[in-house]
Amino acid sequence: MNTILVQSEDFDAGAECEALGSGRRDIGAVVAFTGVVRGDQGLSALTLEQYPGMTEREIARHVREAELRWPIAGVTVIHRVGRLLPGDRIVFVGVACEHRTAAFEAAEFLTDYLKTRAPLWKQEHRGEMAVWVEAKDTDEKSALRWR
């Protein structure tokens, strides 16, 4: 069972992990990544903008690609949008598999692709200043290694 959500509300990472494995006896590994807003260099808030109608579709496309590469029992991807503060959870990627290697790899694959393909844009607020974040070459390189 896969769940893909783009929402402004917070999520409960523990509950999402529980849900990924619940009621099944064939899952030996649940790997979860939670991204948190880092309050460095005086960051006061982040605003996340998305392309409604494309974001979930693009994430779903990469979940399907992950399913072709690894034997996956379930995936949950949650990405928050709107205004977030330092310390807030921003993204959750959870993968349930029979074995741990596939779960680790698929979770990393999905996280890399979220950064370089999902139509989401971060704007950083520092006091009165608001600046759109520039895409990083290192993120692009991380995604390219899965080719």
């Binding site: 494309m54 139509p119 844009w121 759109w132 520039e134």
Partner: protein
């Protein structure tokens, strides 16, 4: 066709969405960029730097050589920064 703008592209152009008939001499995203740039003002600023832009056609990432049709939804935005 419907044009959508996101992030700083939306802010620079000054709107998030506009509808217009596909111009006669525009067959690809690249030609649409040239057409929009010729509008001048903020459009010249945004579409004069195509290296900073990415495009989606009907909600899928595409290259600038993608072909356009009158009923298409085309989005312009900077490289994505989610995750």
């Amino acid at each position: 066709m419907t044009l959508l703008y996101f992030a700083w592209v939306r802010q620079s152009v000054g709107c998030s969405e506009e509808n217009l008939p596909l111009p006669d001499n525009v067959r690809t995203i690249e030609e649409l960029i040239t057409y929009l740039r010729a509008r001048g003002g903020p459009y010249e600023q945004v579409f004069g730097q195509p290296d900073r832009l990415r495009a989606a056609l009907n909600r899928e990432h595409v290259r600038f050589d993608a072909n356009l049709h009158n009923e298409d939804e085309i989005a312009f935005f900077p490289p994505v920064t989610g995750g």
